[in-house]
Symmetry: C2
Subunit: 313 residues, 2 copies
C-alpha cells in the first residue's frame, strides 16, 4: 500500500519544484495531482526553448479532469529562473539529464531556503551523489524511479507512470535518515515500492540490470545496421521488437549514463563477454549439453526476477 504524503506536503501551502519537467518530471506533476490530499503548488523550471514552450502551453491549457477553476491547473507556475521558483520550496526535484545536474546543484545552493529537501532522479549517482551530499548535506538523498521509457519529453508524461514501479533511494546514513523517510513517503504516495541502497551499490547494481542491457541493445542494433538492414527490416517479429526497444532511447541521454557509470560497465562487459565466449564455444561443440546448460542457466536466472506488472496506460 502507498504511504501517505509527508505532512508538510499535504498542506495547501506545500510547494514542490520540478526542474526539467520532461517525461519523468512531467509524470511526477501529473501523478501528484492524483494523490489524495495533495493540494499544494507545483512549480516547474524550464528552459525557454522547445520543450519549454510545450510545458508552458500545458501550464495554461491542461486542467484536471472534470475541473474548470484556475486552481485546478496541472502546474501552478512556470519559471525560467531558479530563484523565484524555489522560494519557499519544501521539495526540489531535479529531473534534467545527468550531466546538467552538477551545474544546477551549484546554482541551487545559492538560492535554496533552509528547509528545502533536494533530490534528483539520475540513473547513475556517482559524482552527483557526492556533490549533492557536499552541497546540501543531510537535506539531500538521491532517487531513481525505475520507470524509464524510450519516449522523451513532456508530451509522453503519464500520471500512471509510477504505479507499481520500484524507486531506489540512495541514502548514505550520514544524518540523512529524515530526508530518506520524507522521500520514501513522497514516492510511495505516487505508487512506488521503495528500495534503499548506497549510491555506490546503486551504480554497481544498475550497471548490471539496466546499463548493460541498454549497451547491448544499442550494440546489437548497430550490428544490424551494418548488416544490410533493407533486407532485414521486415523480419522483425515480437522478439526483436521487445529485445531492441530500449535501443530506441535517446542516445545523448544514454551516452551520459553509460559514460558516467563506465567503471562498473567496463568490468561487467568483460564478465558478459566471458559468458558469450563460452556460449560461442558451446555452439561449435558436438555435445549439445554444454550449450543447453548455458541456456538453462539464463532461463532460470530470468525466472528469479520479479518484474513490475504491465499496466494499462
Amino acid at each position: 500500500m502507498a504511504e501517505a504524503l509527508p505532512a508538510v506536503l499535504a498542506s495547501p501551502a506545500a510547494r514542490i519544484v520540478i526542474i526539467g519537467p520532461g517525461l519523468m518530471g512531467g509524470s511526477v506533476a501529473k501523478a501528484l495531482r492524483t494523490v489524495a490530499g495533495f493540494a499544494g503548488r507545483i512549480h516547474v523550471v524550464i528552459k525557454s526553448d522547445g520543450e519549454g514552450r510545450a510545458v508552458q502551453k500545458a501550464t495554461y491549457a491542461e486542467r484536471l479532469p472534470g475541473q474548470k477553476s484556475r486552481k485546478s491547473k496541472l502546474v501552478s507556475a512556470c519559471f525560467s529562473q531558479l530563484g523565484p521558483a524555489v522560494d519557499g520550496a519544501d521539495l526540489v526535484l531535479v529531473a534534467t539529464p545527468p550531466q546538467t545536474i552538477p551545474e544546477i546543484f551549484q546554482a541551487l545552493i545559492e538560492q535554496l531556503p533552509p528547509q528545502t529537501t533536494v533530490t534528483e532522479i539520475a540513473s547513475v549517482k556517482g559524482e552527483i551523489a557526492v556533490l549533492g551530499k557536499a552541497l546540501f548535506g543531510q537535506r539531500y538523498v538521491g532517487s531513481h524511479p525505475l520507470v524509464g521509457s524510450e519516449q522523451q519529453g513532456f508530451h509522453g508524461a503519464k500520471a500512471t507512470l509510477f504505479r507499481a514501479a520500484r524507486c531506489v533511494l540512495t541514502p548514505t546514513g550520514k544524518g540523512d535518515d529524515q530526508t530518506c523517510v520524507f522521500l520514501r513517503r513522497f514516492w510511495s504516495a505516487l505508487g512506488c515500492e521503495i528500495l534503499e541502497m548506497s549510491p555506490e551499490e546503486h551504480d554497481a547494481r544498475l550497471a548490471k540490470t539496466s546499463h548493460l542491457p541498454h549497451l547491448l541493445a544499442y550494440a546489437y542494433m548497430a550490428f544490424l545496421g551494418q548488416s544490410d538492414p533493407a533486407a532485414l527490416q521486415f523480419l522483425g517479429g515480437g522478439g526483436l521488437r521487445d529485445f531492441s526497444r530500449i535501443a530506441a532511447s535517446d542516445p545523448a541521454l544514454w551516452r551520459e549514463i553509460l559514460q558516467e557509470n563506465r567503471r562498473h560497465l567496463h568490468a561487467d562487459l568483460s564478465r558478459f563477454r566471458a559468458v558469450l565466449d563460452n556460449l560461442d564455444h558451446a555452439l561449435m561443440e558436438e555435445d549439445p549439453s554444454i550449450l543447453q546448460g548455458i541456456l538453462v542457466q539464463g532461463q532460470a536466472a530470468r525466472a528469479q526476477f520479479q518484474f513490475p506488472p504491465l499496466l494499462k496506460s
Copy 2:
C-alpha cells in the same frame, strides 16, 4: 488484405493435418476455424503423453463459440499414428521441434497420398529444407511464421496469433511455384503478410534478426545469474523485462535452433563482438562523440525496422 483460401481447402472435403499441435500448431487450428469459408477437417497427430492428453481433451471439449453440434469441434480427429491421419490429406503441417522433423519426414514419405502438400514451421531451414525437397520434391516448401512466444504448448494457442504477423516462405524455384502459391494463400488467409526467400537466405537473415538476439538474451541472463541475483532481483524495470523476455523461451528448443544455425551465428557473433569491442573502447575514451556515434547508429537502425503491431489477445 488476406487472400482467400486455396479452392481445395475451401471445400468441406478439405483435410488439413497438423503434426504436433502445440502453441504454433494449435494456433493454426484455432485460426483456421475463424477463416471464412473453411469447413474442412482438421486432424492432429500427437504423442500420447503429456501435451497429447491436453489436446485430446481439447478435441472433445473445445467447441467453437456459439455452436453445439458435433461438427463444430476445434479438431475433427486426433491420431497417434501418421497413416490414418494423413489419408486423403490436402496439406500436412509439421509443427514439432526442429530436430524431430527429419524422422517425421522419413515416416511421412511412406504414407503420403500423391496430392498432399507438405510444409513445416521450423525456425531454421538448413537440413530440413534439403531433406524436404529430396523427399517431397515440388510438393514441399518451408514456412516460418514470425510469431514465436516464450510460452509453450497447446494451452497457449490463440486464434489471433497470426494476425498482422509475417510469414516467410522458402521456395527454391525448382518447380515448387504452385506449392508456394498454395501456401501463400493458406498463411495469408490466417492473417499473415508473406515474404519469400530461399532457405539459405532465410537462415542467414534469421540468424541476425532472431537467433542472435535469443543467444544474447540468454547470455545476458546467464551473466546476471552469476552476479548475485538475490541482490538484483527487485531491480528489474520494464527495460530489463522486455530485453530479456525471449530468454524465458524453452532452452531445449532454442538449443536446437542455435546449433542448427551455428555456422551463420558464429560468423554474426564475431561481427557483433567487433561492435561491442568498439563500444567498450568508446566508453573509456574522453571524447564522448565516438560512444554517441555508435548509440546513434543503433537507434537509427532500429527506426528502420517495421514491427508488427501489438494486438490485444
